[in-house]
């Protein structure tokens, strides 16, 4: 597989994240020139992308993607998930370990890596399981995964919580040897068991759905923050969903503790009110929360308490959602809509959001790449940096259609909603991986 494009690529007249207008010359996998007048010096055979009116951002990095391969290729494959990721503006995704079999060995991690390379549309970086079989008891082969060709640095039992404090402590200590980070799905199983599927509050009380109280997340995050302090190791908090967790994170960051956190697009916009019709499209873990939590999450993303936006893209075959709410699978797709949701919520907004495009680049590219330790991703659009670029039409209004997707799955909570912002092109190391 060639990683270089045959021809140089000239991105003409883009608005850069800092708001200035300029050209980008991309060749041989790198950014070769930026600014005005690049146009004139470009090679004659350069392919031209007219980016007039478009915003250029560094390629997006998703810390939290479920690609379902191996095991559930009817819901998604590495190839289809990669295609969806490219369409969403991503140049790298971290593939969660809860496949079948679980990514808990070097061989399993290398297999996912190789499937990603074969697809060749985004860098697919495997996440390794923390514990064998995600069972929460015995450590997975963390070191062998780290030493493998996949060079795993992010470990997570996502889908399940590393609930045992002793296991979490040992995992944190162990991964220090190779600069690893444990990404925790914070859900105390004694407070929110496997049936818990609706934010515990008035809505769950009225609907008679098993409650998933915010405190089940907050107590685990508080514990893990103290374990990070005790071990000096890095904890990353997956899909933060409550204002209480934000408070804990704010305290941890004020102490300078090595704790990072992500929020999903859906927790930035959708609320528990969506559950009134018992539509399992809105069944997700952690659950959608009330508007007060949504507001706190937006504020935390704006002030840096939450470092990154991650999709938790969770494709499901149709028949796994065609059940009563409590019996249906958890999760929603998100790769293709994440940027538009962030744009709608944080940039455009009814009153104008708190974000500039440089902030979007920070939370969707630079920070996630740094957290995951991906050296060739999340870099600024500057000379000598990798040519990973996404072009966004910031004012395009798009009505989401769940059937207009590259994913194999249709469990799309944004179907029928209008979002502002559309990905027009994605470039991975100088090669166009998506264009419309």
């Amino acid at each position: 597989m060639s990683e270089t494009t045959d021809r140089p690529l000239l991105v003409r007249g883009a608005t850069l994240p800092d708001g200035t207008r300029g050209d980008l010359l991309l060749a041989e996998r790198l950014v070769r020139a930026t600014g005005s007048g690049v146009d004139a010096g470009a090679p004659g055979d350069a392919e031209v992308l007219d980016a007039d009116g478009l915003v250029a951002l560094p390629g997006l990095v998703d810390l939290h993607t479920h690609l379902r391969e191996p095991g559930r290729e009817d819901a998604e494959t590495v190839a289809t998930g990669s295609r969806a990721a490219a369409a969403g503006g991503y140049t790298a995704v971290l593939a969660m370990a809860n496949t079948s079999p679980v990514t808990d060995t070097a061989e399993a991690a290398e297999r996912v890596l190789d499937l990603g390379r074969a697809a060749g549309l985004v860098d697919v970086q495997p996440v390794g399981a923390v514990t064998h079989g995600l069972e929460g008891q015995q450590l997975a082969e963390l070191g062998l995964m780290a030493r493998s060709r996949a060079a795993v640095r992010v470990f997570s039992d996502d889908g399940r919580c590393v609930a045992d404090a002793r296991v979490m402590r040992r995992a944190l200590e162990y991964v220090k040897a190779f600069g690893g980070v444990v990404a925790q799905h914070a859900q105390d199983p004694t407070l929110a068991g496997p049936d818990a599927c609706c934010h515990e509050g008035e809505t769950s009380g009225r609907l008679g759905l098993p409650g998933w109280p915010g405190v089940a997340e907050e107590t685990i995050v508080a514990r893990d923050v103290m374990l990070a302090r005790h071990t000096g190791s890095r904890v990353h908090v997956c899909h933060v969903s409550t204002a209480g967790t934000v408070e804990v994170l704010r305290w941890a960051k004020a102490q300078g503790l090595p704790v990072t956190a992500e929020v999903t697009p859906h927790h930035l916009l959708l609320t528990t009110d969506e559950l009134a019709g018992y539509d399992p499209t809105y069944k997700v873990n952690p659950p959608l929360r009330p508007a007060e939590d949504v507001a706190a999450l937006r504020a935390a993303l704006a002030d840096g308490t939450i470092d990154a936006v991650a999709t938790d893209h969770a494709p499901h075959a149709r028949h796994d959602k065609e059940h009563a709410f409590t019996d249906a699978a958890f999760g929603m797709v998100g790769l293709e809509t994440a940027l538009a949701v962030v744009s709608t919520v944080m940039v455009a907004g009814a009153e104008g959001g708190p974000f500039g495009w440089d902030d979007v680049a920070r939370v969707m590219s630079a920070n996630p790449a740094r957290i995951a330790g991906l050296a060739g991703q999340g870099r600024p659009l500057a000379v000598g940096e990798p040519a990973n670029v996404v072009l966004v039409d910031p004012s395009a209004r798009v009505r989401v259609d769940r059937d207009a997707t590259y994913s194999l799955s249709r469990n799309n909570p944004w179907h029928g909603r209008e979002l502002v912002g559309r990905v027009r092109a994605t470039v991975l190391r100088g090669r166009v991986t998506h264009a419309v």
């Binding site: 509050g201 008035e202 028949h319 009563a324 709410f325």
Partner: protein, 310 residues
């Protein structure tokens, strides 16, 4: 009336009045030697029960039969998910046989609503998880109305495991709609999440103190408490529950012998209701069962035969 009965919220107060009037007529039919009416001849009603139930299923079955509908029971324990079939496939398979009404009992809240989105038949919710059981609330309100007359400003006290009770959820919605003053009583661990906000919005009262609520009651409805709840830490022992929240002989005396006592069954005698209370002259338990058939006949009739009087 709407095409389905999924929630008490599907009914206007006019609908309820019509249902009760028809139920009264049906109730008279129950006392005849020959009980069959031809109203639903040629119609097919399937009782689709994914969860064990003897009384509700029999009640619907008799209701359908007395209206001359062809009534078939399909029972299957556990969710369709555990059998590898989607609920939609299960339901479409049954609906494809040619069904006019599906009476659905399912262990998951919202199941009847999901099913109603997939089929053309009328769907009657015969209990969905811990959400609603609208025909139970209708028969309870019907029973109370026959005993007390208009329920406006009458004070009804509901006691028991409210968190896990669909009977509570349907009853509180319907009784407040009919103008009754409702107080719901349970220990804090068996109160539904967010009930304070809900109570404020819908206009009912909550209490942890049964003895404070009882002296002002015009009717008392005891709800079943499952002994398994003790292992979930909802209350320490059966004995302690009974002392705090059971309708004991002493509390029955406190009530006086005019106040009707209801229980949707099955009763845990000695836990939430003493034998003396269950068997007291003021106990409406068997009246509720008999009213259940009449109310379900009325519901099936109005969903399937149209609005004309019988």
């Amino acid at each position: 009336m709407r095409r389905h009965l999924l929630s008490v919220d599907d009914l206007t107060t006019d609908d309820v009045a019509v249902l009760f009037a028809t139920a009264a007529e049906m109730h008279d039919v129950q006392r005849r030697a020959v009980k069959k009416l031809p109203a639903l001849r040629g119609r097919t009603v399937i009782n689709l029960f994914f969860e064990d139930s003897t009384r509700t299923r029999s009640s619907f079955e008799i209701a359908g039969k007395w209206l001359s509908a062809d009534t078939i029971n399909i029972t299957g324990k556990g969710s369709s998910a555990s059998k590898g079939e989607s609920l939609r496939d299960t339901v479409l398979t049954i609906a494809a046989m040619g069904v006019d009404a599906l009476v659905v009992r399912h262990g998951a809240s919202g199941a009847a609503q999901r099913i109603s989105e997939w089929v053309d038949a009328s769907v009657v919710n015969a209990g969905d998880g811990t959400h609603e059981h609208p025909t139970q609330a209708l028969l309870d309100a019907y029973t109370l109305t026959r005993r007390l007359g208009d329920l406006a400003d009458r004070h009804v006290v509901l006691v028991g495991d409210l968190t896990h009770s669909r009977v509570f959820r349907s009853n509180v919605r319907l009784l407040t709609r009919l103008g009754a003053r409702v107080t719901v009583v349970a220990p804090p661990t068996l109160m539904p999440s967010g009930v304070e906000a809900w109570a404020k919005q819908d206009g009912f009262a909550t209490s942890w103190d049964l003895d404070a609520a009882l002296p002002h009651a015009d009717a008392v409805m005891m709800l079943r408490v499952q002994r398994e709840r003790m292992s979930g830490g909802f209350f320490p022992t059966a004995r302690e529950y009974t002392v705090g929240y059971g309708l004991t002989r002493d509390r029955l005396a406190l009530l006086g012998d005019e106040v009707p006592v209801l229980h949707p069954g099955p009763m845990n005698r000695g836990l939430e209701i003493a034998a003396d209370a269950a068997d007291a002259a003021q106990s409406m338990v068997l009246d509720q069962v008999s009213a259940g058939v009449a109310v379900r006949m009325s519901v099936l009739y109005h969903l399937l035969a149209g609005e004309e009087p019988a």
